[in-house]
């Protein structure tokens, strides 16, 4: 991200959600964007995830400058290079756990054997094999979030973005989800950017970017836990 700004509204009512932000994610990084509610964490993540468009500045994903591309034109980039984990899980309610994870692969043009193998592996890895035929309403919050993580991982993206992934979970389940993400980062080398205002979550991650009033105030790097 180079000098990226994002505004909402026009005229006197215009709100600056992000102001001249420079942000870089390197392969294998696990970065947490910390800040209070309304500080611009989610906006930063949305722009990084190509689900929103900046008003100023440039965003380059894996060497592709996305600045002039529309959100519809960015769909293949989202499908190929980015995985999303949402605060409210956002699973498709009429699909089972297996089908939710399978969904993005169906649009990548893979053959059904590859899809089956990949989905089976990821569900196995995340301990969801016994839940694969369950619908979201039949699963706990933690299980749903695991399915969402599996869906984000299954396309083997360059970057996974997690927007407050523990906010709707109890502390124990939240901790287990963070453990899982850290584990994936270490073992698979997946680049992760996570937003959170929960100090317990923030403290467990090595790269921390503090954001306030739409601007990055401080970035710190500590040794991994």
């Amino acid at each position: 991200m180079v000098d990226v700004s994002r505004y909402y509204g026009t005229g006197e009512g215009r709100i600056t959600a992000l102001s001249h932000v420079d942000f870089d994610v390197k392969a294998g990084d696990f970065t947490v964007i910390a800040g209070l509610s309304g500080s611009g964490k989610s906006t930063l993540l949305h722009l990084l995830g190509c689900i929103d468009k900046q008003d100023d500045g440039r965003i380059i994903i894996d060497g592709t400058d996305t600045t002039m591309m529309s959100l519809e034109e960015l769909a293949p980039i989202r499908l190929e290079k980015i995985g999303f984990v949402f605060q409210s899980f956002n699973l498709v309610p009429v699909l089972t756990a297996y089908e939710n994870v399978e969904l993005p692969l169906l649009f990548k043009g893979l053959d059904k054997h590859t899809i089956k193998a990949r989905v089976g592996d990821i569900l196995d890895e995340l301990g969801l094999n016994e839940r694969k035929k369950h619908y979201p309403r039949e699963m706990s919050g933690g299980q749903q979030q695991r399915v969402a993580i599996a869906r984000a991982l299954v396309t083997k993206p360059s970057l996974i973005l997690a927007d407050e992934p523990t906010a709707n979970l109890d502390s124990q389940t939240g901790t287990s989800i963070i453990d899982l993400l850290i584990d994936l980062n270490i073992k698979k080398g997946v680049s992760l950017v996570l937003s959170s205002h929960d100090s317990v979550v923030v403290d467990r991650i090595s790269n921390i970017v503090y954001i306030s009033d739409g601007s990055i105030k401080k970035a710190s790097r500590k040794n991994p836990p």
Partner: protein
């Protein structure tokens, strides 16, 4: 594979919103059934009109029969005197015609005009000279088609009366009888022109008073025997010969067979053979009018189906904003998401067709067994029982129209889907 998955999602979403789906399917099914029943009623009406044209007619000439044989010149040239191009040796011609397969009867007819008088008052008439015994064949044909339904038997009775009457019996239209103050048994005079151009008068006795299919014809309509008409015109010719077939659908086939038989090489007199539908102006004008009315009804019904399905689709889109946003965020393009809604519209259409066929069958049975008596159509005198024909030939078109309508309603969602902001959709409640 992704299209199959989208179809599965569409089906499951329809199941998830089962109440709304059922209501939409019921509305669309009712639309399908309405169109199919209207189609069945159209078939019944057209078939009735067709057979009425053949058996009874809507003009002073009576029923057209299935085919009519004229001298070729009669349709090409203007006659200098009555029956100049009439058929002279018509007994021989009738024998030839009866030898053609599927011909049940031949009916000689003379068309003539003149004045009718009671001695004090005169009025003009359009007369038809018939062989009443043979004309009963048309009534018999009508009975074979409409056996069991309510039929006006007055025509049959009239021809029987004419057949039994002493020489020079005449049937008058009710309007004419009223105008002349005539009743059964009254003596009247027919005045007309002979083939030589002289004026001739024949005394006739009223054998019956008939209600014609159309009230306006009653004032001028008159039927008598061929012998009386020939006596008045001083001729042994007839104007034409009508053919009654065993089935209307064989008309075209018999037409060519008859034409080749009577116009075989070497014959000196050439004949024109005209099918009933070329003589049925009223039938065609009524059919055209009905088509416009039924077409307009169809458009309204399809519009209702479309709006109902569109409402369901748009409601469905509104309720699934978060789901749509998630699919977009995952990287699924608008066209695939729109396809999912098109599938939903398509499946609603398929279910509606099945439901519509069921509704149509149920209502058809109720109507056909209920013997609902309908009032006479405008300008006519006899009532009839309402019937709905199967109208199978309409069903594929109605199905296509319905499928097109419900699937198109899915297109409306495309505009909504395109406009949805991904970020706002993800948090939509």
């Amino acid at each position: 594979m992704n299209t199959i998955k989208l179809a599965i999602i569409a089906l499951r979403n329809l199941k998830r919103n089962s109440r709304r789906t059922v209501i939409t399917v019921l509305v669309s099914s009712a639309g399908f059934a309405a169109l199919a029943i209207v189609g069945g009623y159209m078939d019944f009406t057209f078939s009735g009109l067709q057979e009425m044209t053949i058996c009874r007619g809507f003009s002073s000439s009576g029923g057209t029969g299935h085919l009519q044989v004229f001298r070729k010149e009669a349709s090409q040239k203007e006659e200098h005197y009555p029956l100049e191009y009439g058929i002279a040796d018509y007994d021989e011609l009738q024998r030839k015609l009866m030898s053609v397969g599927d011909v049940d009867a031949t009916l000689p007819r003379i068309e003539f005009t003149g004045m009718i008088s009671n001695g004090e008052k005169s009025t003009s008439f359009l007369g038809v000279g018939v062989n009443p015994a043979k004309e009963l064949m048309l009534t018999k044909y009508w009975d074979t088609i409409y056996s069991g339904s309510k039929k006006n038997t007055s025509q049959e009775l009239m021809f029987r009366k004419l057949a039994m009457a002493s020489s020079n019996g005449v049937l008058l239209g009710a309007g004419m009888a009223k105008a002349l103050g005539a009743d059964v048994g009254s003596s009247l005079m027919l005045m007309g022109t002979t083939v030589d151009g002289a004026v001739n008068v024949v005394d006739v006795t009223v054998a019956g008073i008939m209600n014609n299919t159309m009230k306006t014809i009653d004032k001028y309509y008159l039927v008598t025997g061929t012998a009386t008409a020939q006596n008045l015109m001083q001729t042994d010719k007839v104007s034409k010969i009508l053919l009654v077939l065993n089935e209307t659908k064989k008309t075209n086939h018999v037409l060519s067979a008859v034409s080749s038989k009577i116009n075989a090489p070497g014959t000196t007199v050439k004949y024109a053979v005209t099918p009933w539908y070329d003589l049925a102006e009223y039938y065609h004008s009524v059919k055209d009018a009905y088509r416009i009315i039924f077409g307009f009804t169809g458009i309204i019904v399809i519009l209702i189906v479309f709006l109902s399905a569109a409402n369901t689709m748009l409601m469905s889109t509104m309720e699934r904003v978060r789901e749509i946003g998630t699919l977009k965020a995952v990287g699924i393009s608008n066209k695939w998401i729109s396809l999912m809604f098109l599938y939903e519209g398509f499946f609603i259409g398929v279910m509606s067709i099945a439901g519509g066929i069921l509704f149509k069958e149920i209502f058809t049975i109720i109507i056909n067994t209920g013997n609902f008596e309908m009032p006479p159509p405008p300008g006519m005198t006899s009532t009839y029982f309402l019937r709905i024909y199967p109208a199978i030939h309409f069903l594929p078109w109605i199905s296509l129209l319905l499928l097109f309508s419900t699937t198109c309603s899915g297109f409306l969602t495309m505009f909504k889907i395109r406009k949805l902001s991904i970020v706002n959709s993800l948090t939509h409640v």
